[in-house]
């Protein structure tokens, strides 16, 4: 159905290697949807890309105000990229408030496309402008293009019988059409998607707006010519465009299959983790049970109960939820049962910045329990990485019968990137056998079951699930005698058990890969990263290399235990920089653990690092 799209022949597209587009509008304007569609069309076209949705915490902040601005930034490129771009080269501002909120991000001389219909006196007042920026010369440093998008959309939809008020809601599709032309995106995928997603008049109105925007850009002389971003040279294979939370949910489904266990998710809605609950709730035919619990505590308790009963128990949350689950996680440490705790970090403390990103839960993951209660921690580095990383977290939980905390963050959760689908046969078998036989001979020769008789290698205790004849046993939070699992308050036994639980976690070092040093191995300076800083570090390290500043880079997936050789590796470098979206939590651990004078680079603005920020730090420390 592309016949209504004006054939593009008159103006040749100029080829560029990358572009960063930011769509900004009111929360009700559908900017996330617009950005998402542009992303999908680009993904199908074969560009590498990375997205960054940025939206307010309020569901409906007052319309037209700066607080209500919702933005979506996407970086598309013909080469391998990992960040959503520092400064956008194109800003689409659907109203005055969006211009006010996001103009400072636009690069100098950047292309600024505004919906001129939303710059009436009332709009300016709500946005906090005292004079009209479209007229007062304040935008002179940009390439300003004014388009009355609202009225053009209404004009396009009117012949279909759509009322002007309803037609106005389609104006985001006008903007999408415009940008699709400007960057030579194929139109079919978007039109097909509109047909699937909407019905009746809304569908027609959105189609009309999209095509009107596309044709408007083509026919008018507002833009000299369209641009073309060639497909990226990505490794051959089959790709899909995936967000972090969906990759995580699919990773959990996969972990259940690889473990040959049904998945049980106990969860309570919380931003930015709820999408995992939503996604997993769709996949009941994989044997996935999802239960929306009455609270965070119950969610963890149910997952732990399910683990006791032989399921892969999972609970998903964000920082405040981890705080509430802390007592249950401690019980899981004591019971030595597998439990996967997923924390999608956000700005804290307390409600903090619920829709903004931060990576400040490493401390609570490491230390946020009562008593000596160590547990393994695994962190994802990018949206697509969530899939493999959560399988690894489940593997550790099952093999060592321990709760594992999996750290992602809002930036990874909502960001999207192309993902080369893994070869399913290459995924690890993470299944573990249940105990079905007696494992100990009593003094009188009879055989019996000792629930805390450990595997000498992994130190994991056996996992005998209800329904197994003869192996009935009781476990609990009270200290247990090693071996029998009977209640024991004996001083020496407690000390032994505390050490055993710690040794068990430390022993996982032998089961995780050694440190991989990226970048320049011989550099004097090493960046130590974890989590979503991956993207910015990657871009900064590459740029530094081009500037003749060699930098080495270590990025951690396993945060507890740390890789066995990490201390030795880091000691090779004169300078170790640790960029984190917190006040230096990993940095402090590394300093304490290895007595290395690591330097923290901290950012806590609810925003990811930009590559330029890190590059500046690299320059500063490079001598």
């Amino acid at each position: 159905m592309t016949d209504t799209v004006t054939q593009r022949t008159r103006r040749e597209a100029e080829t560029i290697s990358r572009v960063v587009v930011r769509f900004a509008g009111d929360s009700g304007d559908g900017m996330q949807l617009t950005g998402d569609r542009f992303t999908s069309a680009s993904a199908i076209f074969g560009n590498d890309l990375m997205t960054f949705p940025d939206y307010p915490a309020e569901i409906r902040a007052p319309a037209g105000t700066v607080n209500g601005v919702s933005s979506f930034q996407v970086h598309i490129s013909d080469h391998d990229i990992t960040t959503p771009g520092d400064a956008p080269s194109v800003l689409v501002a659907m109203n005055a408030a969006a211009l006010k909120a996001d103009l400072n991000r636009l690069e100098p001389h950047g292309l600024l496309i505004v919906n001129s219909d939303s710059f009436e006196a009332r709009d300016l007042e709500k946005a906090g402008y005292t004079s009209n920026p479209l007229e007062d010369g304040s935008l002179d440093g940009y390439r300003l293009v004014q388009i009355p998008m609202t009225s053009l959309t209404q004009g396009a939809a009117e012949p279909l019988g759509v009322k002007p008020r309803d037609a106005e809601r389609s104006k985001n599709f006008f903007a999408l059409g415009l940008i699709s032309w400007l960057y030579s995106r194929p139109t079919d995928p978007t039109l097909e998607w509109i047909d699937k997603r909407f019905k009746d008049l809304v569908k027609e109105s959105n189609r009309a707006a999209f095509l009107a925007g596309y044709n408007f850009a083509e026919t008018t002389e507002l833009f000299e010519h369209p641009y073309q971003v060639a497909p990226a040279h990505m490794p051959p294979g089959e790709y899909t465009n995936i967000s972090g939370n969906v990759a995580l949910a699919w990773g959990i489904v996969a972990a259940g299959q690889l473990a040959k266990l049904p998945v049980f998710l106990g969860s309570y809605p919380i931003t930015p983790a709820s999408d995992i609950l939503h996604e997993l709730s769709k996949h009941k035919h994989f044997g996935v049970r999802t239960l929306q619990a009455e609270d965070e505590i119950a969610a963890a308790g149910m997952a732990l109960g399910a683990a006791f009963a032989g399921h892969l128990g999972v609970t998903t949350t964000s920082g405040p939820g981890v705080a509430l689950k802390s007592e249950t996680i401690s019980l899981a440490v004591s019971l030595e049962l597998p439990l996967l705790v997923v924390d999608i970090q956000r700005g804290g403390p307390s409600t903090g910045l619920p829709t903004k990103t931060e990576a400040a839960d490493l401390n609570i993951a490491m230390f946020g329990r009562h008593g000596e209660a160590p547990l393994p921690i695994v962190a994802a580095s990018s949206p697509a990485d969530c899939f493999q990383a959560v399988i690894e977290a489940a593997r550790i939980a099952l093999k060592y019968r321990t709760p594992v905390i999996f750290l992602s963050d809002g930036y990874i959760a909502n960001g999207a990137e192309p993902w080369k689908l893994p070869d399913l046969d290459s995924l690890p078998d993470i299944s573990v056998p249940f105990q079905t036989e007696f494992n100990h001979q009593a003094a009188d020769g009879t055989m019996e079951y000792w629930p805390y008789l450990r595997d000498p290698e992994t130190l994991a205790r056996p996992w005998a699930i209800p329904g197994t004849p003869g192996l009935m046993h009781r476990i609990g939070g009270i200290e247990k005698q090693d071996g029998t699992g009977n209640i024991s308050y004996a001083p020496d036994n407690h000390e032994k058990m505390v050490h055993l639980r710690a040794d068990k976690v430390r022993a996982i070092q032998a089961d995780i890969p050694p440190v991989e040093v990226r970048g320049d191995q011989d550099a004097d300076l090493c960046i130590l990263g974890w989590g979503s800083t991956w993207a910015a570090i990657d871009a900064a390290v590459q740029q530094a290399g081009r500037e003749g500043r060699p930098v080495a880079w270590v990025h951690l997936t396993h945060l507890n235990p740390l890789p066995a050789d990490l201390g030795d590796v880091l000691r090779r470098f004169r300078t170790v920089l640790v960029p984190e979206l917190n006040m230096g939590q990993l940095c402090r651990i590394v300093r304490a653990e290895y007595l290395i004078d690591a330097v923290s680079i901290s950012k806590v603005q609810g925003l990811p690092f930009s590559a330029n920020e890190l590059l500046a730090k690299i320059r500063e420390h490079h001598s």
Partner: protein
């Protein structure tokens, strides 16, 4: 699940752990009743799970030769929900106390009841915190002098049955620790009920709240003070059933002399009534320990249990979509192929 269950004796249900409640504690009688009952309820020890929270009563699972977990204060209903929903084939019991279920764990308690998770919940109500050595509990009477309320408690107490009925529990009953036969009868009915069954057990803590229920369940006063509820029968009690319960024109339940109103005026107990109103009125019949108090099954209605429904939904989606295919899932948002070179 349908294979015949091997015959067991009481001994098969007793663990090798030494029972460590205070001598004279009411918990012993309850443990005896459960252990004596279990061989007769048609399940095997390996398919039985006891989950408890924290408190004196919550040591219970250690003494049962079944699967068991002594968990966290207040959280047993949530953990047991995980067990029962993951494994509807298991027979899951929750042992809890007044502080455990109604104070720190109030939220999980009401939600397990409203979801109708297939659990048999035994609440040992001794109206005191025993394990922490004698603070008032959410069921302690107002004015109670304890270590934490030297001038008397100002708290209005919970009636556990009202809470359970307010959550529209499908099975609600009361018994007491001095009558093993009655306990076994009620526990069996609670066990046989599919869904969440709630039993309040008046339990004597002889160390910190001795004789709390003496004025109702004491041997000398029992006949006049305990009202034995039987479904389908007029609610009568006292010597020769000379007292009974009537419903006034104002909807209020009252205790009367049967001779004064005539036998036909006496309320007939209906535990199967869909509306929990009557059960609630019975639960609120007595407001103190000086009034006659109903025992037995207040309410028992049929409602699908949660774990079975979850399983059925899974099966239904499985039927519609076929078995999950990981490869198809990964391609479900559309894919594109990058060719070599």
């Amino acid at each position: 699940m349908n294979t015949p269950v091997a015959l067991t004796t009481k001994k098969d249900w007793m663990s090798d752990q030494e029972v460590r409640w205070c001598p004279g504690c009411g918990d012993y009688g309850i443990l005896q009743a459960v252990q004596q009952l279990m061989p007769d309820v048609g399940v095997s020890p390996e398919n039985t799970v006891f989950i408890s929270g924290i408190g004196c009563s919550s040591r219970f699972p250690y003494y049962m030769n079944t699967y068991g977990m002594h968990s966290i204060h207040g959280r047993a209903p949530a953990i047991a929900t995980g067990v029962a929903v993951a494994r509807p084939d298991l027979d899951v019991w929750v042992v809890t106390g007044d502080g455990d279920a109604l104070s720190i764990g109030g939220n999980h308690f009401i939600h397990a009841l409203r979801r109708n998770v297939n659990l048999t919940i035994l609440l040992f109500n001794n109206r005191i915190y025993g394990l922490t050595k004698g603070q008032y509990s959410p069921t302690s009477e107002a004015g109670k002098v304890t270590k934490s309320t030297p001038f008397g408690s100002l708290d209005h107490p919970f009636n556990p049955l009202s809470v359970a009925l307010g959550a529209e529990a499908s099975f609600v009953a009361r018994t007491h620790d001095l009558d093993r036969k009655h306990m076994m009868e009620i526990f069996r009915a609670a066990h046989d009920h599919r869904g969440a069954s709630f039993v309040e057990i008046y339990q004597n803590c002889n160390v910190f709240n001795d004789a709390a229920f003496e004025e109702v369940t004491g041997r000398k006063v029992r006949e006049e003070m305990m009202i034995d509820l039987k479904h389908g029968q007029p609610i009568r009690f006292g010597a020769d059933g000379h007292k009974g319960v009537v419903m006034g024109t104002d909807g209020q339940l009252r205790i009367v002399n049967v001779a004064d109103v005539g036998e036909d005026a006496i309320l007939v107990h209906d535990a199967h009534r869909e509306d929990p109103g009557l059960a609630m009125a019975l639960a609120r019949l007595s407001h103190s320990d000086h009034e006659s108090t109903p025992f037995g099954i207040f309410r028992s209605i049929e409602r699908p249990d949660y774990g079975t429904m979850v399983g059925a939904q899974l099966a239904q989606v499985f039927q519609q979509k076929g078995p999950g295919d990981l490869g198809a899932l990964l391609r479900s948002n559309g894919t594109w192929t990058v060719a070599a070179n």
